[in-house]
Symmetry: C2
Subunit: 360 residues, 2 copies
DNA sequence: TGTTAGCACTCAATAAAACTGAGTGCTAAC
DNA sequence: GTTAGCACTCAGTTTTATTGAGTGCTAACA
């Protein structure tokens, strides 16, 4: 049984670091020259043979140097986390201009991060931690127009205008308010599905087409809210071409396809949110650890942030397995500070909403 | 001097159509078999030689078949426009769910179009045809908070909340209102630049820091409006990998880079808006006709639509030069109808705006 | 027991050479 | 004006040769 001693660990680190830079398999001679342990390449070879046996490195083919395995990266990344904070990267250039719309801030963040790291980035729209419905109120605006006010926990108010094909009377509005509140209160947006909608229609009885119409409109409004949360912005997709191991059209194609499938991305980010993370909210997926098929040749680093006002956002950085974990994680930490400065201070936050104003 | 007769035109059409399908150079034998003109390959060769001399086709190398030149495509496309409407494509599946937010509709449109055509698509956010500022009103909400209401021609109202670092008194607000209205009224959003802002500060005199601060905030709000208009959504970037002539990582990289540079795209679409178009608002850029460097191996078809309420949007479809122009143009025509049905009927349209509602 | 020099061996990557076949242009006959 | 026939061209593919970085193993050394 071989054990991991100081020298082996040092060699492994040199292999990984060199590979991160060059992307080429690392040979024994390179190591014996680079590392400050004064041993010959032959000795290194023996050690490398051990490291291979332990599963931290492999040879892509017989007569090549070694490259790290997923397990090797994992050891390295875990170690990184334990060590003290590294040289803070220059995120200073990242002055987020004060914009009111959360959405635009997110887009800016994702773009800057992509430019800063040279990796592909993605960010999920602000999701409410507790997004249970607290109250729904329908009010008549006119004969064929209603406004639906939806209050979500965290005192977020959204309003939607509903246009009807036929007139509605006060009695029906009253009935609908009762029906909607008894059925939907306390449910989170995600829990509301077709079954529940169908159930409500059933309860209302089929006697009135107008009721069915309003319920559909409300369901649609709720769906729109969900969509809002599902929004994912990506940036720097072109960066994948900077890494030869991802740039061949087969892999690039699959990756970009995945980036285009916003739904799947959103799901991934949401899942990352709920997973165990370190103190900084950072989570690293190396190669096959990632749940997304197309990303198994990549590493993904995600970070979840508190955006204030009961909102959370998750950022993901996608790069080759040999991504510069140190830099990426430092960037994400700096970003956390920036975002906290902007949003965390309990200032009343403006959540962009619909309608209200700006008609003609 | 060779002239274009019926047979030449027929042969050219066969060459283009075949090449659209296969992407491979077309040889004389293929044509003599496929076309219903009963002549031998030798005759075809003579005709092709003429067509080449006329500049409609070329040989990629001596011993290859012919492929259309940009000029050849142009002739073909122009002809297409003149012919009666072709088999209408199945855009029926394109039931745009009734969403209130214009933005979401656009995203859906662009996604469906990409899925339908197998090309990459882009769409510019709704821009106002006449976006001149009609009126600006600042009102105090509190000691350190103002609301800026900006009315744009077409009766579009936008409001922004401005947080200040120091208190402001009524007198200053009055002064600012006067200053802003005299300087900005009648200007379109695009005309407002740093010079004008600086000019206003100058006019106000440097005596008061607070005035300068508010002007900056208003400028920022206007910039945000501009951003809104500059928004471009893309979809189906992965489709470029379906066409071998674009899929090699060099070209793909450049294309995707261009797609990521939303500003440049927005400019392109805006420019397309102002260019001469056919009756359907459709404009075709073949190869080098396109002003964008990276797209000179592609063709781009753009279409500008009236979205009602004084708004315009432009859609672009990006594909290989051998794109199925017939299908694309038919799709865009159908889309025009759909959009007119949704927005064109003069119904009061809801433009999403900021703030107002939904604070905590 | 750990370290080192030396050597034979492997194999991806690159370069050079040979082969193949679709397609052309030209000529001469119909 | 159309066609069959034939020599020629050249991208693309397969085949073969060459190179060189890197390894594993062995034997000698400290």
């Amino acid at each position: 049984m071989v054990t991991m001693d100081e020298r082996k660990w040092k060699i492994l680190r040199v292999i990984i670091k060199t590979y991160l830079e060059t992307g080429e398999p690392v040979g024994s001679r390179t190591i014996s020259k680079a590392a400050d342990l004064n041993v010959s390449s032959a000795t290194i070879r023996n050690e490398m043979s051990d490291l291979e046996e332990m599963g931290y490195i492999v040879q892509p083919h017989t007569s090549a140097g070694r490259i790290p395995t997923d397990r090797g990266y994992r050891l390295y990344v875990d170690q990184l986390v334990e060590e003290k904070t590294h040289s803070v990267m220059s995120m200073n250039s990242m002055i987020i201009s004060r914009t009111n719309r959360m959405e635009n801030v997110l887009k800016q963040v994702v773009r800057m991060l992509a430019a800063n790291t040279n990796y592909t980035t993605m960010i999920s729209g602000p999701a409410y931690k507790q997004n249970k419905i607290r109250f729904i109120q329908l009010s008549k605006l006119g004969d064929r127009q209603l406004v639906a006010v939806i209050v979500i926990e965290g005192n977020v108010v959204r309003n939607h205008i509903i246009d009807l094909t036929q007139p509605i009377d006060d009695e029906h509005v009253l009935k609908l308010n009762l029906l909607l509140n008894t059925n939907l209160n306390g449910l989170s947006l995600r829990e509301i599905n077709l079954d529940i909608i169908a159930g409500m229609k059933e309860e209302a009885g089929e006697h009135s087409a107008i009721i069915s119409e309003v319920i559909d409109a409300v369901a649609e409004a709720i769906r729109a809210e969900k969509d809002e949360e599902t929004q994912v912005y990506t940036s720097g997709a072109d960066n994948i071409f900077k890494y030869p191991e991802l740039a061949d059209s087969g892999k690039a194609s699959r990756l970009i396809q995945t980036l285009e499938a916003k739904d799947t991305l959103a799901e991934f980010l949401r899942q990352a949110e709920s997973e165990e993370r370190d103190a900084n909210g950072i989570q690293v997926y190396i190669g096959e650890e990632s749940p997304m098929e197309a990303m198994q040749d990549c590493s993904v680093v995600t970070a979840t942030y508190d955006l204030g006002g009961g909102m959370e956002g998750t950022i993901g950085i996608i790069g080759p397995k040999r991504m510069d974990y140190e830099k990426v994680m430092a960037n994400l930490k700096t970003l956390k500070t920036s975002l906290s400065d902007m949003f965390g201070t309990g200032e009343d936050r403006i959540v962009d909403s619909e309608d209200s104003g700006s008609e003609e």
